[in-house]
Every structure is written in structure tokens, then in C-alpha cells.
Symmetry: D3
Subunit: 178 residues, 6 copies
Amino acid sequence: MKHNYDNYSLVVGRFQPLHRGHMDVICKCAEASEHITIGIGSAQCSHTPENPFTSGERYMMINKALRDEGIDNYSIVPIEDLNRYPVWVAHVVSLVPPFKIVYTNNPLTRRLFEESGFEVRASPLYNREVFSGTEIRRRIANDEEWRSLVPEAVAKVIDDIDGVNRIKQISGSNDSPF
Amino acid sequence: MKHNYDNYSLVVGRFQPLHRGHMDVICKCAEASEHITIGIGSAQCSHTPENPFTSGERYMMINKALRDEGIDNYSIVPIEDLNRYPVWVAHVVSLVPPFKIVYTNNPLTRRLFEESGFEVRASPLYNREVFSGTEIRRRIANDEEWRSLVPEAVAKVIDDIDGVNRIKQISGSNDSPF
Amino acid sequence: MKHNYDNYSLVVGRFQPLHRGHMDVICKCAEASEHITIGIGSAQCSHTPENPFTSGERYMMINKALRDEGIDNYSIVPIEDLNRYPVWVAHVVSLVPPFKIVYTNNPLTRRLFEESGFEVRASPLYNREVFSGTEIRRRIANDEEWRSLVPEAVAKVIDDIDGVNRIKQISGSNDSPF
Amino acid sequence: MKHNYDNYSLVVGRFQPLHRGHMDVICKCAEASEHITIGIGSAQCSHTPENPFTSGERYMMINKALRDEGIDNYSIVPIEDLNRYPVWVAHVVSLVPPFKIVYTNNPLTRRLFEESGFEVRASPLYNREVFSGTEIRRRIANDEEWRSLVPEAVAKVIDDIDGVNRIKQISGSNDSPF
Amino acid sequence: MKHNYDNYSLVVGRFQPLHRGHMDVICKCAEASEHITIGIGSAQCSHTPENPFTSGERYMMINKALRDEGIDNYSIVPIEDLNRYPVWVAHVVSLVPPFKIVYTNNPLTRRLFEESGFEVRASPLYNREVFSGTEIRRRIANDEEWRSLVPEAVAKVIDDIDGVNRIKQISGSNDSPF
Amino acid sequence: MKHNYDNYSLVVGRFQPLHRGHMDVICKCAEASEHITIGIGSAQCSHTPENPFTSGERYMMINKALRDEGIDNYSIVPIEDLNRYPVWVAHVVSLVPPFKIVYTNNPLTRRLFEESGFEVRASPLYNREVFSGTEIRRRIANDEEWRSLVPEAVAKVIDDIDGVNRIKQISGSNDSPF
């Protein structure tokens, strides 16, 4: 009998960096699903104020944080951008393990998956103003407290790669090496 | 004897969506030309606030609207972006039927075709503040009256593809699925 | 009521050049369909032994030959390659007017459209050994008779663009300008 | 103290499909390493005779087969081609978790990683004539016995996705949908 | 004995256009170095308000200006963008002659080269508010005095290519031909 | 008065590696021209049996060999492939200093430049069977004598970069790191 994957789900994000708001969504989805795939969006980006961490660094953050939580029914898949939205869903489908349910609050993601016939559910809510990549990157750049907003494993990865200095150094940059 | 194509002309636009201002230009050019090619620019774009419709959807709008007007001396050609302006004219030339005259009011388009030796004419004028893709998309997103600004065939295509809801849904989006 | 496009069909090919075998398929499909879209594959290719003609030149061949046959329920759409087969069908769908039926004898095309849920029909048969782009290009390069294999309009376009000399000149090439 | 990742290793392959030869290498490396990353090469390819399976399908094969073996100190990362070899190592490094050792028998891979200062070890040997993706795809296309060459989990994934018919159908293809 | 290239240096910029501030940096570096490579960044860009000149035009400006100064221990290399910062340094390294020292004040460039182990030095200072490509393009577009800000050879190239009119014509453009 | 560049010429090649046949052509063209631009084709390629050397390495070979000959009226410009032949000439023109004459024996290069209105001249003849990149790479891979076929400066660069071992190591490769 073929596996139907009815309770396999997908969560996509940029995770710059992974924070406690993300973790909350992922943990709830992992509990509600047989299997959860975490897609790392804009995988090709790094070293910019908006996207300081490489895909490999973000992979480590997610992997370590989920293991610390005792979760193991997940896959992590980097997804490079393919800036053609009509084919974006097919692109994601080709890169990740099977899934039937998508968790997202992003309206474009919702529309694209719905037009392709997927079931889309809203992500569980959390305090988006504080648990936000933008806010965390801002705090790091300004020497404010940020460690409480991310899982411990994430803070450790950021320290290992000298991430605080990377963010500070590029925060004055105009996103181009010229 | 070789055909000289002296009176073959080109009009390019994004047509997001085709509106009565576009139609006015196209109809006048079609009348003044032996043949007119309508190039659908940024053909690879869709599902964003600026570019809600796919190239195939825009093709249908133009095709049906021109047939309703009884015009038949035209070709429609989607043109994907090639973001290297020094080769952009050669890119367009390779994709479309022959032409000698370009109708445009866009200064970059004018410059690029002029540097390549084409005759460039200003598009006939129309009320650009009302007959504007930006204005029509704004009205659709805000439930204001928009149908009078587009040919009937266009409104019908937008209804067929559930375009009003697509525009509303993605209008809050930041143009990225992440 | 929404249009259902049930009898809208798609034929794709490279048309290097359009020949009488292609015309036979297209004419039969046009008769059996309410609307037929002819997709020009590998639209970005030209000036090589395998792909001598630009997309714009091929567009002209098809347009003129179909008008000579009195067919007018068609659209022509250049399709640039997107060498990611899992998203190829979504790419084609986004570029062309709606369709429900695909005519092809190519096994990969058949598989890709079938996996995406389209109805695929075999193209009507014709003498593939003679009516073949490869054979026609070979004859042109070797000064053999080729005009009987293509519609009159196609021979005229090839003459207009000095296509015979182009094919001869590049036939010794190794497909790279270096 | 920073983690030094000295015993983190990388194995790359196309895994079309994952076979018992691959499994042998992966299991031995997983045992010898603190952590092993398996890179799925040419991740963007699928539906061709050489590359029948999508990256997502290959991800499933590897994930299920390794879990069946009781291995859990691994990460799986799809790697899209970036056909610029001087930057290929930097591309891989940016996509995957940290590593210090590369296992490969491919001379180009060896050279590229060595020029970038990585330690490269030869993969453990296995019977390459039988345990080969090429041989397995050939057997599937010709209705010969192939299931003994792959882990059970892989055969199950191939059955789930109707992979035998996909390979048969596209095996006569010339790798282009035109 | 192998050449060690210890005193070979690299300066990168967009040079839109080359101005006296650039010249000051280049001349000082050329004097302090055995060999200096000048990388023309964003080489694929032109005909926009931010990047009016082609790479070929910028090559001419630099080449003529340096010869006028009697400098000859330099190479000029156009560098097309590769918008993946983790591989950007490897991309530059593969395109240019060997170098050990990088002169830059751009924080992203500094970070990327430092993470790859290069010695990075700050460019010598000059009056950045006046000697700035942005300021020079603004003056040209507004018919203000600009010739004193660039080397004579640069003004001559700009005149030769009708660059003043190009900048004026495209300065009202929104950076897209549609 | 504008410079007319009537006697500026262009020679393009891959130079894998630069050999005495190339040098013969370049020296004769340099003598006959006011200025000669040497375009390094397929600049993005390296580390394969067909294209072992990076663009930067080839730049060094050409630069050093020409200086050894006392030639100084030249520019060297790497040219990345843009696999769209109808726009290829515009691509080259945008990257290099002005030129009016092209020296080539490649039929595709000749056709493309002629269709764009350039004067194309045949390269001076030399013994192509011996003075050939293919032959030199074959000799290096097989430990046969090759140094007499290249300028001294080229042999020195190849030694500096450990090029002999690179060619030997990758000569058994199938041109893919997987």
C-alpha cells in the first residue's frame, strides 16, 4: 500500500536567525504532524544586514535546537530562491520530502500553495514584535540584549561563527560589495 | 524581392492589466502599421502586488480585447527580462517578428532602441493618471470601481481567474514567500 | 459563468524550421480544438546547427503558414528553456493561454504533463524520416532539395533572412564562438 | 570554547538512486565521524534518464534508509549545481553544516577540495560495476532484477512514486521536452 | 622558485564614472604595490541612472587615465556580479591575476575578504562628498559643472560616447524598460 | 573630434592555455592595429579537462607573454559565456573597449559579427595541429613534451600554479564533481 503522507507538513522561513517564535510554531507542528519539513528559504543569501547567516549556519541552528527539544520527526531542506512565483510551489515540491499541509501566515505563500491545491493552515500565533528576525538583528547590531529571544543552541552557533561581529560589521553596508 | 518590413511596429508594456489607455495606443498603431507586435514585458513575473497576472493571463487579455475590436494584423510575444540593458534590444529583436518602428514613452526604452538605430516614436497620449496599471490594481485591492478602466474582455479574464481575490490577498505581501 | 477551456489544446515543438509534418499536426489539432496554442520551444536558441533560427523568425514562419491555410483560432507563444523538469509544466502553464489537452509524441513531455494531471494525446502520425527538422537542415547545408518539405511561407521567410547561407556557414561550427 | 568540528565529514553524490554501495560508504563514514553530512548533488535535476528522481525523492530515500540502519548522526542537504568550479567548494561550504573531512573518489571533487585546503579521503571500496546508479537505472528500464542492489527503503520509495514507469517512459527520451 | 605575489594588490569599484578620488587611491596603491589589479564591479550593468556606463566604456576610462599618469604596473578586469556573497571572494579570485592585499573602505567587501583570509587595508582618504559617482551623475543630469571632478581622459570618453545625453535621457527613468 | 576607433581590433579565444599559435596571431594583429583587445572566452570555466585554467590564470599568461614581446597596445578582457547567440555580439561589445575589426577563423563567430555589421578578417594561419590547446593539454596529461609549444611566460605560470598536476588529476574526470 502506498504511503499517503496525509499528515506530513511543511514550514518555510528564512530563519535569520531561528528564534523562540519560530520554535513555538515548529514544536506545535511537529507534535501535530507525523513528519515536518522545515524549509530554509533564500538559502543562497548571507552576509547582508537582512540575511547575515549562510544556509549551512541556519541548518546548524535548527538542527541543534530541535535536538535539544527532543524532536526527531523532521527534515531540514535549504531552498534557493527561484524568482518565478508561478513555478515556485513546483520548485519547493521537487526539493523536499512529501507533504500535504503547509503552515504559514505569509499571504503570498498562502495564495501560491492554495492555487496549487495544498491545504494551508495559519501558523500558531506568538508575539511577533519581539520574536522577529529584524528585531534580533537590530539588537545584535546595537549591543542590546538578544540572547533571551533565541534558543540556547542558536546563541551558541552565533558565537561559534563570530556572528555578532559579522552583523555589526555589515550593518553599515549598503548590501553590495561595491 | 525581400520584404522590407518598413511599416512593422513594436509596442512593449507589462499590461498588469491591459487597460483602455493601452488599447488606445495599440489601436492607433495597428491602424498606422502594416503589422504590430505587442511585447508582454517581464513575462516571468506574476503573483506580486506590482505584477499580479501571469504572462499567459495577460496574453489572453490582449488577444480577446483586440479581437473584440476587429483588429487582426498583430502578433503577441511574451518577453522575459534579461537584466543586461546593453543586450536588451538584441534580446527583444531575437524573440519577435521583424519591426522597424518602436512606440514608447519610456526614456530607457527610447534610449536603448535609439542607440541600436531603430526609429522610436512617442506613444499617443492618454489620461495616464487614471488609465494606469498602478491605479487599477489599487482600486481592485480596495474594492473601488475599476471595470470602466479596462476593456470588457479584460474584466472577464480577471473574473475567470479569480483575479480580484488574488490581488486582494497578495496586496499585503512584501513580495517574498518568506 | 466561467469559461472552462475544455477544448483548448497545446502543441509544443522547436520548429527549426516549421515543416509540412508539423503543419499536418497543427491543422488537425486546430480543427479538433476550439483554440490551439503553438509553443515555440528553446526560444532562446539560434545560430547553431541544431537551432539555426531565432524565436522571432520561427514565429513569422508559423504565423504566415497558418494564415495561408486560413486557420485563425490559434496563439503562438515562445517558451524559453527552464532546465528544471519538475517545474517545467508550471513554467509552460504560466506563459501560455489556458489549455486542457496536450498533443505530443515526446515521452518526456508526455510524462511531465501526465504527472501534472493534463490529458495528453499522441500527435497524428506523419512521415517522420523525411518531414524532420534534422533532415531539412542537412539538405540545406548540402545544397539538396528542401523546399518541398516546408510550407511556401516558410521557404519565403528563410530566403528573406538569408537563412540558407546562415545554415551553411555555421554547419561546420562546434556550437561555440571560441 | 568553540566547537572545532574536526571530526565532521562530508559525502557528496547524486544518489540516482541511493544504492548499497553508497550505503556502505555512508555507514562506515558515519561510524568514523562525529557527524556526517550527505550532500545531494545536482539537486535541481530530475525526470531525465541520467537523473530520474527529484531531490525531494532522493532525500526520502536517504533519510529512510539511514533510519532503518539506526544511524542518526547525519544531516542531508540538497546542493544545486553551480557550474563554476573555482567557486564550487565555497558554494558547498555555505549550504551545509561545518565539516573538515571529505570522502570522495571523484578526481575533480578531490582536486577542488584539496585546492581549498580540506582533508580528502578516498571512499571505502565496493563493487562499483554492480553497485552503480547507471546499472540500476538500466536494469529498471529493461525489466531486469534491481531490487537487491538498493536498500529496502529505497525500493519502497521508488514504488510509492511510480518510479519504475517513470524511468521506462523517459528512457527513450533525448533529454529535452521538444 | 615560485612567485609569491606578496605585494600584488586589488582595488574594486564600480567606477560610474572613474573620478579623481578613485585616481588618488589607485595611484597611491600602484606606487606601494608591485602590481595592482583594478576590478570593475557590476560589469554587466549599464544604461541606468546608477550605472550609466558599460563595462567596456569604464575599461577605456581607467586605461586611458592611468596611461596619462604614466602608470603601467596594473591590470583591469571586469567582474560581473554573482549575488551569493559566500562565494563572491572565490569568484573574484578566479577572474583576476593573483593578489594578497585588498584596498577597500566598504564594510561588506572588508568582511568577505577577511573571512577568506586576505589582508585588507583601508583605502587612502579623499573628499568623498564631492568625489563621488553619485554627485558626478547628479551634476551631469542637471547641467552643472562636473569635468573638474574626473580625469581629463574620462571626460573625453564620456564625450565620445555621448554620455551626457545618455545620463540626461535615462535620469527620469525608473530603471526598467517597461 | 570624436575618436573613430577604425583601427581597433578584437581577437577572442579560450586560451587553455595561450600557445605560440595564438601569440603569432596576436603579434601580427597588434602590429597591424592601433589597439588590440584580447577577449578571454568562457571566462567562468576552469578545472575541467577542456578548460583547466581560470580566467585569472589565463589573464596572467597573456599579460606576461605580451610584455615579454614588448607589445603594449593591448587590453585583456575576460568574457563570461552568455549562451544566447543572437545577443552575444552585443554582450561582447558591452564588455570590451571599442573595436571595428574582428580576427577569427571560427565560423559561428564570423557569422555573428557579420550579421551585426562588423568587419571580420581571417586570422593569420599557423600549424593548427601542433599549436592547439587540445594537443597541449593531452601532452601535459601524458607527460609528453609540451613546453616548446607555449611562450616561456606561460610555462612559468603553469608551474607556479601547479598546473601540470591539476591537469593530470582531472584528466580522468567526467567533468562533474558528482
